[in-house]
Each structure stands twice: as C-alpha cells, then as structure tokens.
C-alpha cells in the first residue's frame, strides 16, 4: 500500500481528531480576525438603527437548542442594538423548545441596559399554529395573546396598550432554523406590508436570499458569519466573533481534505488501471 492509498484509507477518527484540534486551538489562543460586514447584514442593522426611540420591534424565536450556537449570538447582538436605541421589544416564538433561549437572552441583555419588564419589553410566549397566528396578529394581537407568558394581561403593560396589530410594529425580526421565516414573509410581509428582517442558520439562509433580492425582507443575517458581522456593527464582541477564526481555519482544512482526497482517489484509480 503506497502513501496515497494509505491516505485514502485513513481512519476517519484521525480526521475527527484533527478537526477537533482545529476548533479548540484558535479558541484557546483567542485569535480575533477582522470581519467584513456584508450588505444584507448592514441593511438589517440600518433598518433597526433608523427607527426612532420608542418604536416597537417584535422578535420571533423560531429555533431551538440545536441551532443555538448560530442564532443565539445573533439574537443577543440584535437585542443589544434595540435596547441601545431605546426600542420596545416584544418577544414571541413558534418553537416551544426555543422560547427559554429567547427568555435567557432577553433577561441578560435587558439587565445590561437597565431595561424593565413591561416597560421596555414583554415576552408573549408560545402559541402553536403559526400560520393562523401570523394572519391573526394582523387583525388584533390580543385574539392570540391576551396575556404575556406569565398570564399578565397585555393592557397592564404601558407600551402594549397601543399595540394592536402590525401597524404598530415597526420591524419584525425572525430568527429562523426552519420554514417559519417563509411564513412570516408570506403572511405578515405580503398580506400586511410588515417590515421584516430575518436571521437564519446557514442551512436555511440560501432559501431566504430570493426574498432579499425581491425586497420582501429588509435584511438577512446568515449563520455564524452574519452574527459576527452584527456583533461588529454593534461593537460587542461575542461568541460569533470569537468563533469566526475557527470557522475560517476549519474551512481551509476541509478544502485541503477535499483536495488531498481527490488526488488520492485519482492516483489510486490510475494505478489500478
């Protein structure tokens, strides 16, 4: 067995070990790389940045723990931006397992900016059946959320008294790990003209680009890279920014593996012939 044949038959666990080291080492060395902000993320940032203080932003948590590494830094960065601009935040979610993640981020960032529950933000909680809910909010939000997640009536919160439907929501930001983003665009965006920004996992993001091109959404934050870009814009280094050097190194390593794998395959095939 020659070198290339041996390389082709390499135990996959050796590759896993190399990948593990390539992830851990840059994190341990705390390498930081410059991050270039892309246009879709810049547009998302600008949309929120241009809102006057007191405007209402609805945030939808449409992911769960499986997508937390990508979407949680994004959510934290957007919340920091909202609270820095004195915007009012309404949190809701269509993924039952994701709502605690949203609540954790909301409580953490609200404490950083001394924001008070009920005055600066509310958490509406979860309701199943998102299509009907998205259409229903266009009529009256209280038909679906008469109370917040703790059962407190919405009208007992000062800023919620004037919020009835999409007309009072300046921007809707959906963090998407599935098809709920499409529903927001098709129900809230197309039917009610709601301004929408979507933050999505890398897997979902390519499907959302057509909405961006058609101007159906104002901005798109894609994957860990998008989260790192937003962190750069709000000037707060978080896990996304720290993870990007690892991401770049690992991409290089994967490309190298693909090239070596192909060379090994072609040389082995030629020798067999």
């Amino acid at each position: 067995m020659n070198f290339w044949q041996r390389l082709g038959a390499l135990d996959r666990r050796i590759i896993y070990t190399v990948v593990g080291l390539a992830v851990a080492l840059p994190l341990l060395l705390k390498i930081i790389m410059p991050i270039r902000v892309s246009e879709p993320v810049l547009n998302a940032y600008k949309t929120i940045d241009e809102l006057p203080a007191g405007s209402v932003v609805m945030i939808s948590i449409d992911y769960d723990a499986a997508s937390e590494p990508e979407l949680q830094p994004m959510l934290i960065a957007v919340l920091r931006h909202c609270f820095k601009k004195d915007l009012k935040v309404i949190l809701t979610g269509h993924w039952a397992l994701g709502l605690p993640l949203g609540e954790m981020a909301l409580n953490k960032v609200a404490a950083e900016y001394n924001k008070k529950y009920g005055v600066d933000y509310v958490n509406l909680g979860y309701r199943p059946g998102y299509s009907a809910l998205m259409v229903g909010i266009g009529r009256e939000i209280r038909d679906f959320f008469a109370t917040d997640y703790r059962g407190v009536p919405l009208d007992s919160f000062p800023f919620m008294r004037t919020v009835h439907n999409y007309n009072q929501i300046a921007v809707l930001v959906g963090f998407e790990a599935g098809a709920t983003g499409d529903a927001w665009v098709q129900f809230a965006g197309a039917r009610f003209g709601q301004k929408i920004i979507l933050g999505a996992t890398g897997v979902v993001a390519p499907d959302l680009y057509p909405y961006l091109q058609a101007r159906q959404i104002c901005g798109l934050i894609s994957g860990l890279q998008g989260a790192a870009e937003y962190e750069t814009l709000v000037k707060s280094i978080g896990t996304a920014t720290l993870g990007m050097p690892t991401q770049s190194i690992l991409h290089g390593l994967i490309i190298l593996f693909i090239i070596i794998g192909n060379i090994s395959y072609f040389i082995t095939r030629r020798r067999k012939k």
């Binding site: 341990l28 990508e70 909680g125 059962g151 665009v185 197309a190």
Partner: protein, 203 residues
C-alpha cells in the same frame, strides 16, 4: 448558583456523550439521544398545556359568557376527536379534525404562496438587462425553468440552454452545501466553546 453549576456539568456530560458517537456507537450516546427525545417531547406537552390548552380553552371557557363560551366546545370536541385514532372502531372520526386542519392549511397556504411568494418573485425577475447581475439572474431563472419543462425533448441549440440550466442548479446546490458545512461547523464551535468556557473555564 449551585443549580447553574449542576446544569453546566449535566450539559457538558451530555455533550461528551453525544460526541462519543464519533468514536463508535455506544450506550452513553444512546442514553443521551433518548434523553433528548424524551425531554423534547415532555417540554412540548408542557408548552401546549401552559400556552395553549389552559389559557386559550380552559381559562376562556371559565371566564367567557354566552356564545363566546360555548363556541369553545367546537375546537375542544375537534381536538378530542383527533385522539380517536387510538381506538380502532371509532378511528375514522379523527378524519374530521384532520380535514378541518388540512382545509385551513391549504386555504392559508395557497393564498400565501401566490401573494407572498410567486407574484413578488416573478415581479423581482422582470429586470432590465442593463447589468451583469440582472442578466445572470434572468438567464438563470429562464434556463432553470426550461430544465424542468419535461413535455418536450429539447434538441439542437435548445439542448445547450438545458445544460446551462443544470449549471445554475449545480451552483445553487453548491451554495446550499457550502452554507450547510458552515452551519455544522458553527454547531461544533458552539459546543467546544461551551466545554472550554462554561465547563472547564479555560477561555
């Protein structure tokens, strides 16, 4: 504080148990996998009860009066009929709520797809061919649609249009796959970051 520490250790243990599958399938991995499925299902049941059944049905039935109260029996009965699938002889009754759900889904979905996807996307493709990007977009859309036109066998010069369509489709698959790789790496980074920072506290 102590709860957080215990939580972190449990999360770290389960992360390592799941990652141990990379070496080979083992009982620790199976335990973590089953635990995840069980906890997710339990969580879902609690959420549906706490955020849907109780506030939307039970509490409203107690609080409301007149028609608004009794109309709630309709979704309640439909919901109960869904459970009839468990009982062989009356299982057919579950078709009623299913038909209701499918009807609503189709009604909402069809209008949303046309109003919110098809028409805006067609509109966004009607572009002046004045820039390279616009030309690529329009040519890409036309050749991709042609590729899925199966009613006629394309020969001669039209064949090249189909081949161009395949190239656009492949580029799209490549972009999706690249994004997927990035996403999976991000998940690994997230878990390793958690182990190194929250658990071991070395970064």
């Amino acid at each position: 504080m102590i709860v957080n520490i215990i939580g972190t250790w449990i999360a770290a243990g389960l992360t390592i148990a799941i990652l141990s599958f990379l070496y080979k399938d083992n009982p620790l991995y199976k335990f973590a996998e089953h635990l995840y499925v069980g906890v997710s299902a339990g969580f879902g049941v609690i959420y549906v009860w706490a955020f849907d059944l109780k506030p939307m049905l039970i509490d409203r039935f107690i609080e409301n009066q007149g028609v608004e109260r009794w109309i709630l029996l309709v979704p309640a009965v439909l919901g109960l009929l869904m459970l009839s699938r468990w009982f062989g002889k009356i299982g057919y009754l579950s078709r009623l709520p299913l038909a209701f759900t499918v009807g609503i889904g189709a009604g909402l979905g069809i209008t949303a797809s046309i109003q919110g996807f098809l028409l805006p996307q067609i509109q966004a493709t009607l572009l002046p061919l004045t820039t390279i990007n616009n030309i690529i977009l329009v040519v890409g859309v036309i050749t991709t649609i042609l590729y899925f036109y199966f009613s006629r066998d394309f020969k001669g010069p039209f064949k090249y249009l189909l081949e161009l369509g395949i190239i656009f489709i492949m580029v799209s698959f490549g972009a999706s796959f690249g994004y997927t790789v990035m996403a999976r790496i991000s998940l690994l980074i997230g878990r390793i970051f958690f182990l190194l920072s929250d658990w071991l506290r070395i970064i």
